[in-house]
Symmetry: C2
Subunit: 219 residues, 2 copies
DNA sequence: AATAGATTATTTGTTGAACAACAGAAAGCC
DNA sequence: GGCTTTCTGTTGTTCAACAAATAATCTATT
């Protein structure tokens, strides 16, 4: 299947190939643990092997691929240890950020938009959009800290979470129960009740971790 | 100056070239903002341009280099915004980790070793080692969280801090006053007084940020 | 039938040359 | 001096080649 990456003014080909593969990894276009052959993929994407290797280095740094010297590159395989670590990271970062949040911050608007979008998508039964909105809500929490480094790091965390969620076939179970909770956290932030919001978020994360680990166990 | 990277059993050439350049960036072998010419550097390191490009992608992701499409790669230039963000990241991550630390954790030993090493190096007047020990102390704090992702992220934070410190010519000012404070934090952790340790660390970070920003202003 | 060792095939890691595209510098014109 | 055009140098990408490492296959032994 030849799928040449179209040119998008301004962006380098490597960037676009990276975006393409990132998208495919996150949305299950490759199997977990799948080996990505340089020769095959460069052929099907119609790019040179060297360009693809640059892309592999970048996506490996983002945690979506795993590079083993002399053996090649594999799609990352989130396992239970991954889930545990991701939620640990989130508990440390998100909770602390919320403890220091202020309600007038522009990112609160993004949190609100994400909650509304999730509710609409739930009515329409579009669980993929619900999931995206849920994760966007959490990215917006991190954006409260005004830290480009934390934003970038957390975007990798979210990408890995999407990858992990993609392994599970229960989007409704993963996201639906948390829409009301997100709204509650949002309201607390809007009211300036930071400690309560942080406490609520921590409970949410502990719960969500349990749910996700449970779903992993059933696989 | 031709400086071929020696072969080191098992590691790929790209990895070793990355390590070489990382070392040079951190220790001031290049000027801040310096443009790194692919042609020149591949020639002087005696590696192919393609290999070097892979390395550039990796180090760019680590924050040590800045890649501008079609213009090339430049050594990162920590400015005051960088310092502000790095300390913000540290306040969010390190303080929260310390709030949850337990005194029996193996990383407490690393913290202790770093403090001892700093004290010895201070006696010997070796401020570079004092600085490394100080940063290792902080890496050990993060290691208390047992999170590979936070460890990796923080190692980049530390590399950027080293780069920033390298711009300043006052190692004594940057590190000496904090050896006793590190020991105090260590003692509190060893005694299980987490909140006090966290509070102490927060004050330290606020102070250190001021000192570093002050030194930047004088440059 | 299972295992170990040898051989073969495939893939990755690296190189170097080539060329198109882009950015910056230099030259020319008003 | 300012603007435009041309030139130069560098980056981005491609391709072909080859060495090294790993995986797959085959053969021999128990």
């Amino acid at each position: 299947m030849r799928t040449k990456v179209p040119q998008d003014g301004g962006r380098s080909l490597a960037e676009m190939v990276a975006a393409r593969i990132r998208e495919q990894v996150i949305h299950g276009g490759f199997s977990p643990g799948q080996h990505l052959s340089e020769a095959e993929l460069s052929d099907s994407l119609e790019v040179s092997r060297n360009t693809l290797r640059e892309v592999f280095r970048v996506l490996t740094k983002e945690g979506l691929l795993r590079h083993e010297p002399n053996r090649g590159v594999f799609v990352a395989t989130p396992d239970m240890a991954t889930i545990v670590d991701l939620y640990r990271v989130r508990r440390i970062i998100q909770v602390e950020i919320l403890e220091q949040a202020f309600s007038g911050h522009p990112a609160v608007r993004k949190m609100r938009e994400a909650v509304e979008r999730a509710k609409e998508a739930r009515e329409a039964g579009d669980w993929l959009v619900v999931g995206s909105a849920d994760l966007a809500f959490h990215g917006a929490i991190v954006a409260l800290a005004d830290s480009p480094r934390l934003d970038a790091f957390f975007s990798h965390v979210l990408a890995e979470m999407r990858l992990a969620f993609g392994l599970l076939s229960e989007p409704e179970l993963l996201h639906s129960p948390f829409i009301e909770l997100n709204e509650e956290i949002l309201k607390l932030v809007e009211l300036g009740k930071r400690s309560e919001a942080a406490s609520r978020l921590e409970k949410y994360l502990v719960n969500a971790e349990r749910v996700v680990l449970g779903a992993f166990t059933r696989h």
